[in-house]
Amino acid sequence: MRSEIRIAGTGGQGVILASIVLAEAAGVHENRKVVQTQSSGPEARGGASKADVIISDEPILFPKCRLLDVLVCLSQQAVEEYMSDLKVRGTAIIDSFHVRECPRENALCLELSQTARKELGRELFTNIVTLGALARVTGVVKLESLQKSIANRVPAHTVELNQKALRAGWNLEAIARTASSTPTA
């Protein structure tokens, strides 16, 4: 099985860190083949930013995503730029606050940044909330694997908050209604 996943948003939202955590969860903790690449503008924050993760059981040669199985959009610009790369039956996850309109009817519109603000007190945690939601919706990686890789990748004093953010994303009500698997966290 091969999954091409893109997380896109604005520089500063943590999309690259989210992609690294996801790649490490699948590659190191589940022993799958992974490649993570990223693309950003020359500015430190504010420009468009995207990260690609390919998870596969076969060796991965070309490292960039071509036809997406999963697309996460944390900004309107990301929707406009990348929605056409998503497979017809692919999963689109969009942030309800930053994305005003989305051409895909079946896109999953989730309160990602709002949950970060409400439950963690800072929008900074949107990226990890997103990962929790992504894992729950797609089943591409286990929650425990993400927990392990968060412990390794985020600054030590924020591990606990990030774990909380992950669970908040996993437990989002909108997904719980649609998800077939039962929550374990």
Partner: protein, 395 residues
């Protein structure tokens, strides 16, 4: 346990495990993570990290550390690589083993800092002035960033020459899971066995595997960028100049057969792809796709060492090729060298991309499938317009 690492991190780890203990540099995208890694780890290992005022200072500082006996490295990208060219010439002339990493981005000038390119291939070969040997390695994966950095240290120490590691933004920033060996073997120069009076810093005819003294060990060591005699002092004597230049050239020429580093597959096929660096990933996938689609096999040669170009080796590997495809993230640089390795009736097709994006496997598959004229078109013979033999006969 495997780790998730970027190419830049793997390069820095490879250097540390190969014994590099000195880094002088000026951080620049997309090579910054190499400097960051060294800044964090070198002090713990008793090494030295120094951030210089610019890239000219960086390479000179590194050359100094090398002269004093340390294994040293610097890392940069296009604009910094341009500034370093004079210093690279100095490393060659003074025979200082060191590693210069260039994580390529789009140029010229500031270009596209966060986008990828293979546009510095020729600069790596001819960037510094004067006739000179050069060695450049080109990894295609995170694991190879580690392996080729170790190889770079080994080769540079053996030949007492700088080695350039040509990475690119994709390979430098890409993350893959790898399991890296904790111990690596590299060649270590021995201290001079001769008495001090008989030691000549440049006395060895080949300077291959030679014993060598560092500054401060009591041997007479005189370093200069001027052409020098055996003892390191400058000279204008034509015979000595020729001896010195020939000796520098022989370092690479005489060792070419073990230096050359390439992989190949299915060379019996009519079409052969010649590739290097991250575009080799697209090329290999294109080969697989094309074979699956058409049932026809495609040959592939991937150069891990791009300079010296393995001329004789390529001539023999490409002997049965009827068509050669060279995909590159530039406006066509290696294709010229490949043209010189095949007979003129074998077309060499340059597949180029220079918009900051990687070549896709699809673009290369298209090039494999495309019909091309069987011979390179020759220029029409109108060297002297208006001049003909008939006119000439009047005289």
């Amino acid at each position: 346990m495997p780790q998730l690492l970027s190419g830049n991190e793997a390069c820095a780890i490879g250097a540390l495990r190969a014994g590099v203990r000195f880094f002088a540099g000026y951080p620049i995208t997309p090579s910054t993570e190499i400097a960051e890694y060294f800044a964090r780890e070198l002090p713990r290992l008793g090494g030295t990290y120094i951030q210089m005022e610019d890239e000219i200072g960086s390479i000179c500082c590194m050359n100094g550390a090398t002269a004093a006996g340390l294994k040293a490295m610097t890392a940069t990208s296009g604009p910094g690589f341009s500034l370093m060219q004079e210093g690279i010439g100095y490393s060659i002339m003074a025979e200082l083993p060191c590693i210069i990493v260039n994580v390529m981005r789009g140029g010229p000038a500031t270009g596209t800092p966060t986008r990828s390119s293979q546009g510095d291939l020729m600069q790596a070969r001819h960037g510094t002035h004067g006739d000179h040997p050069i060695i450049a390695l080109c990894p295609w994966s995170v694991r190879e960033c580690f392996d080729l950095t170790v190889e770079a240290v080994d080769v540079s120490e053996r030949l007492r020459l700088p080695v350039i590691l040509l990475m690119d933004e994709v390979v430098g920033h890409m993350r893959e899971t790898v399991e890296l060996p904790l111990r690596v073997e590299t060649w270590k120069p021995s201290n001079p066995r001769r008495p001090k009076e008989e030691y000549f810093h440049y006395g060895d005819e080949t300077n291959y595997d030679s014993d060598i003294a560092s500054f401060g060990e009591g041997f007479r060591v005189h370093l200069t960028g001027l052409v020098h005699r055996k003892d390191g002092l400058p000279t204008n004597d034509p015979e000595t100049i020729r001896w010195n230049m020939d000796r520098l050239r022989r370092k690479v020429d005489d060792n070419a057969s073990w230096l050359w580093d390439l992989t190949y597959e299915d060379l019996g096929a009519e079409t052969v792809i010649v590739c290097y660096g991250s575009s080799a990933r697209s090329a290999t996938e294109a080969k697989n796709l094309y074979q699956r689609k058409t049932g026809r096999s495609v040959g592939i040669i991937r150069l891990r060492m791009v300079w010296p170009f393995p001329q004789q080796r390529m001539v023999s590997l490409l002997r049965s090729a009827r068509r050669v495809i060279v995909p590159e993230m530039n406006m066509g640089q290696m294709n010229r060298s490949v043209e010189r390795a095949v007979s003129p009736d074998v077309p060499v097709i340059s597949v180029q991309r220079y918009d900051g994006e990687m070549l896709t496997p699809g673009e290369i598959v298209d090039a494999i499938g495309r019909e091309v004229p069987s011979a390179r078109p020759l220029p029409e013979e109108d060297l002297h317009p208006g001049f003909s033999i008939a006119d000439d006969e009047e005289f």
